[in-house]
């Protein structure tokens, strides 16, 4: 099937600040071997390592006043 989603590369959006955006669904394997998944249309992966819902972004990267 030429239009099957599996034939098109999965887009990952990288920005200088903020999470990595990946087209869902996504499975993430963590250091301890646990696998977590999200079937959202797009998934925000934490890159600042501050998220309390790691590996998912919870906006903890924001500047604080």
């Amino acid at each position: 099937m030429p239009n099957s989603p599996s034939d098109t590369p999965r887009r990952v959006t990288v920005r200088r600040k903020g999470p990595l955006l990946v087209e869902g669904p996504v499975e993430v394997e963590l250091e301890d071997g646990t696998v977590v998944s999200s079937d959202r249309f797009r998934v925000a992966l934490c890159t600042c390592r501050r998220s309390r819902r790691f590996p998912w972004c919870d906006t903890s990267h924001r500047a604080r006043s």
């Binding site: 999470p19 959202r40 925000a44 919870d58 906006t59 500047a63 006043s65």
Partner: protein
């Protein structure tokens, strides 16, 4: 067309304007004169309920009110008079940023010692505060994402695709049991509230009506599509950290799993939505229509203004140990 029997009941009027509009919906009595619209306090109970009644015909209507009154020219004329005053007041009273980046900058910084409603609920909220908050907010959350869907035909290309994707997520990604309005109904059951649509309209304070009327105003007018997008961005940007505090409040008070889940879901979902709305919805819209920047900024500023007013009202009541609800029957169970 007759109603289907599932529409909410018409609320009790709160003054001459809402009395006249409600009577018109029942087929009796004249609509308010322009002088009456001009004389009523614009953010007050009577004015805001009159506008809310006009808008609700575009959502679910009311029991006993013919559905076709949605496009009744006389009622639309009254609605227009109310809207012009409301919009002029918002433009005059909300803090104004000409540049969108300036309007958004404040939202993207997280205060260490925040003093908003979600901070109060996280730190000091009791179950009755959480019930009141949910009862008030149910006027929006039971139609969550609906006012924003109206902007879709007014967008193009990247902005439209991104807005539709976020709305799809709000509507449960194609699954009825994950529709955010449904998740909120589940939260209400955990809190022993009645999740019937419109049940707490009589209980909601004027400041809450203002927040919902703002979305309807922006959603129903193509001329305000920029403001709608700015409003939506504000909701999505502020939702994730606020939802985390509310989830903590629900956990601490033992509100129940559905109550916790609603806010946990919004921590994650809105962290994604914020990125998509800022970069693709706003970015895409500005590529197509760069002249809308000031309108988008106005949508941000107006949303901050009405949300701050609501927060001040709720905290003033709660700090004084008072209920924020207008109806005695709903106050009773909270204390």
């Amino acid at each position: 067309m007759e109603d289907t029997g599932k529409e909410p009941l018409l609320p009790a009027p709160r003054g001459p304007l809402s009395t006249a509009v409600a009577n018109h919906l029942r087929g009796i009595g004249p609509l308010p004169h322009d002088e009456e619209v001009a004389a009523a306090p614009v953010y007050g109970d009577d004015f805001q309920l009159a506008l809310y009644l006009c808008y609700e015909l575009h959502y679910r209507g009311f029991a006993g009110v013919p559905a076709d009154l949605e496009w009744d020219p006389d009622l639309l004329r009254t609605r227009g008079a109310l809207e012009r005053r409301f919009l002029a007041a918002l433009r005059a009273d909300a803090r104004r940023h000409d540049r969108l980046d300036d309007a958004l900058a404040g939202l993207l910084v997280e205060p260490v010692d925040g003093t908003g409603v979600s901070h109060f609920l996280r730190d000091k909220g009791e179950l009755w505060h959480l019930r009141e908050y949910a009862a008030q907010r149910s006027l929006y959350h039971l139609k969550e994402a609906d006012p924003h869907a109206w902007v879709l035909p007014r967008l193009w290309g990247r902005a439209k695709a991104a807005m539709a994707a976020v709305e799809f997520d709000e509507y449960g990604g194609g699954r009825g049991d994950r529709v955010h309005a449904r998740l909120f109904a589940d939260l209400m059951r955990d809190l022993d509230l009645d999740p019937t649509y419109g049940r707490y309209l009589d209980a909601a304070c004027a400041e809450l009506l203002v927040t919902v009327n703002l979305m309807s105003l922006f959603g129903l007018h193509r001329s305000l599509r920029g403001a709608l997008v700015g409003h939506f961005a504000t909701v999505e940007i502020t939702s994730s950290p606020g939802s985390r505090r509310l989830a903590e409040a629900m956990r601490r008070t033992g509100a129940g799993p559905a109550a916790v889940h609603f806010y946990d879901e919004h921590v994650e979902a809105d962290a994604v939505h914020e990125q998509v709305v800022r970069h693709d919805v706003i970015g895409g819209l500005l590529e197509e229509e760069p002249q809308l920047e000031a309108d988008i900024a106005f949508g941000v500023d107006a949303t901050v203004f009405v949300e701050d007013r609501l927060g001040d009202r709720l905290l003033a009541d709660w700090r004084a140990g008072r209920s924020s609800l207008r109806t005695a029957r709903d106050r009773e169970f909270t204390s």
